[in-house]
């Protein structure tokens, strides 16, 4: 994309092209994230309503009450902005942004279709885990800076919970990284091209189990019920968000939904084939860049819809979990992580490694083809690290 913009401008304007490319990328990702978040606000109400045998928002207007999200946003912006007297004013103001920015920055390395990525990194999976993990800072700071014991309790729970659940989360993500032979999320998704049997979810029984462990850990990592102990409104008022109102509270809310979208996108790329659909019909119709750039673009659009649909499916699943399961106790949450998730993830990793060793061709996926690292990775191994 930067090449395309640079070719439109004279050579000595490369600085402007660089800035324009950066701004366009940021604007596109911001639009995608914020529209999704607004959609999730409405969706959360609808999902909860359906599970509780209600209709959900109908009175605000719009088809299916879609004006609920704009109405919510307007209400939150009009609320009074309160900073408690006991608060550390600088950190109190800083905390919401420290919470949202990492969740948003993770999208820099998440591909939304083949080549539709702000920055294609060799280590995209590691980058996303590292950057998204910084979100916990904002929460701890919010809890400390509020000057309230409920907030502090919430923040301490968040610290314990997120630091613990990052271990099994990363262990589960190692399995698709190992199966694809790369930490590049684009390469991981391309390694699953074809029918849904090529998805790493169905690669072997261990990766199938690892996907569900991943979903559990992702739910815990994003503070969603049944693991929403940092908020726990029945015990801690609203946990770390107790003292926040208006716009700052909205930023925390956006951070939660943004990180939820991020983990679901990673799950859909790493385990569910990314933009490679259950049925490879775009390939049959010739919607690829090798046929014509325009057809390739249409194919990428289909891929974008595909990966987004899978991620939104994941978000709906996590929402349904919230409205179905009762909240755990904090000691149960920690036991869940260290006694079940970590050992399970470790066993799944060992199992997947052994499976790869014993059945190099795979059982379900290896009907005809021998397993091998994806062509891009294989060439980079022999060419001394250089890619096409």
């Amino acid at each position: 994309m930067s090449d395309r913009i640079a070719s439109l401008l004279p050579e000595s304007w490369s600085g402007a092209a660089w800035a324009a490319t950066a701004l366009i990328h940021v604007a596109l990702v911001l639009c995608f994230v914020l529209i999704s978040v607004a959609f999730f606000v409405w969706l959360e109400r609808k999902v909860s309503a359906r599970i509780q045998d209600r209709l959900g928002p109908t009175r605000v207007g719009g088809r299916f009450g879609w004006l609920q999200s704009p109405a919510d946003g307007l209400k939150l912006l009009c609320k009074e902005d309160i900073i408690p007297a006991a608060a550390d004013r600088v950190l109190f103001r800083l905390a919401p942004y420290l919470c949202f920015c990492p969740a948003f920055a993770a999208f820099a390395a998440i591909p939304l279709a083949e080549g539709w990525v702000v920055l294609r990194l060799d280590i995209a999976a590691l980058f996303v885990l590292a950057v998204a993990g910084m979100e916990v800072f904002g929460v701890i700071l919010a809890g400390y800076a509020s000057g309230s014991k409920y907030s502090l309790f919430g923040a301490m729970r968040e610290a314990a919970q997120v630091v613990s659940y990052e271990a099994p989360l990363a262990l589960c993500l190692v399995i698709p990284v190992m199966l694809a032979g790369s930490m590049d999320l684009t390469t991981i998704a391309q390694a699953q091209a074809g029918w849904f049997t090529q998805w790493f979810l169905f690669h072997n029984p261990f990766s199938f189990a690892a996907f569900w462990v991943f979903i559990v850990c992702a739910t815990a990592n994003t503070n969603r019920a049944p693991f929403d102990l940092p908020e726990a409104e029945s015990e801690l008022v609203a946990g770390f968000m107790t003292e926040y109102s208006g716009f700052r509270w909205t930023v925390f809310f956006m951070a939660e939904y943004t990180s939820m979208l991020a983990v679901c996108l990673i799950a859909s790329i790493a385990f569910l084939g990314g933009w490679n659909g259950p049925i490879p019909w775009t390939g049959w119709l010739g919607l690829s860049h090798s046929v014509h750039p325009l057809l390739g673009f249409v194919g990428d659009c289909v891929g974008f819809v595909n990966v987004t649909a899978k991620a939104f499916g994941g978000v709906i699943f996590i929402m349904a979990l919230r409205w179905t399961l009762p909240r755990l106790r904090i000691d149960q949450v920690m036991a869940m992580c260290w006694k079940y998730c970590v050992p399970l993830a470790a066993v799944m990793l060992m199992g997947a490694t052994l499976w790869l060793y014993v059945f190099p061709g795979g059982v379900i996926r290896g009907v005809g083809g021998q397993w091998s690292p994806s062509p891009a990775v294989a060439t980079s191994w022999t060419n001394g690290g250089e890619r096409e």
Partner: protein, 227 residues
């Protein structure tokens, strides 16, 4: 470093063209970002020293380290940047948690540094500065050698794609090393042994920590029994 040299290339191109453009075209963004990240890291590092509240200190430290990670990303070293965030920034978070848990709301929470510590800190800091200064002075020669070896355009192709070689080297395959038969890379030249040794070292540290914590816990329990 790469960003600076690339920025210099851009400036040279512009001089050769001999034309001036509006500001936004003329700004070398890599340089601007380099100065932005660098000054942020330095200012926040001073903030760590000046601040007397441990939580604010930790916040300054976190943001300073994150700015350094930004410098790594700018220099096309995403692996180092990600590790900087994961290890250093994540490690500081533990400091933050302990700071909050142990000292946050006590009246004596503000920390003062005594004169002896100041002297020791200044000596160590000056020594480190001297080493860095020496390294910076030698940098120009290294850059020149690197430029002669590898054209900057070829380097641009490598942007963000450096980690595969690194990972393979850790597993024992050096893709950049000499290949005697001209074909596939040779196994056994890499860093597998140091890598495994470090892993064992960390494992030993973990087991040791667990053992120490456990024995102390046991002795305290015995004390209770004796009481």
């Amino acid at each position: 470093m790469v960003a600076i040299t690339r920025g210099c290339d851009l400036v040279d191109q512009r001089r050769r063209a001999g034309v001036s453009f509006i500001m936004i075209a003329a700004v070398v963004w890599q340089n601007l970002l380099f100065w932005g990240f660098g000054l942020t890291a330095s200012a926040l590092a001073i903030g760590v020293v000046v601040s007397t509240n441990i939580v604010r200190m930790a916040v300054c430290l976190v943001m300073s380290l994150a700015a350094v990670a930004g410098l790594f990303f700018l220099a096309d070293a995403p692996f180092l940047g990600a590790i900087q965030i994961l290890v250093y920034v994540g490690g500081t978070m533990v400091l933050l948690v302990f700071g909050v848990m142990l000292t946050a709301r006590l009246p004596s929470s503000s920390m003062r540094t005594n004169a002896g510590q100041w002297v020791a800190a200044i000596i160590v800091g000056a020594a480190l500065l001297a080493v860095c200064w020496q390294a910076c002075r030698g940098l120009a020669a290294v850059c020149a050698r690197a430029d002669a070896k590898e054209h900057s355009a070829a380097r641009a192709d490598h942007a963000g794609r450096t980690t595969t070689e690194f990972g393979l080297a850790l597993l024992g395959v050096r893709t950049d090393a000499a290949r005697p038969n001209g074909g596939a890379p040779v196994a056994g030249q890499g860093y597998l042994l140091p890598f495994e040794l470090i892993s064992l070292h960390l494992l030993a540290a973990l087991v040791g920590a667990a053992y120490l914590a456990r024995s102390r816990w046991n002795s305290r329990q015995n004390d209770h029994k004796r009481d």
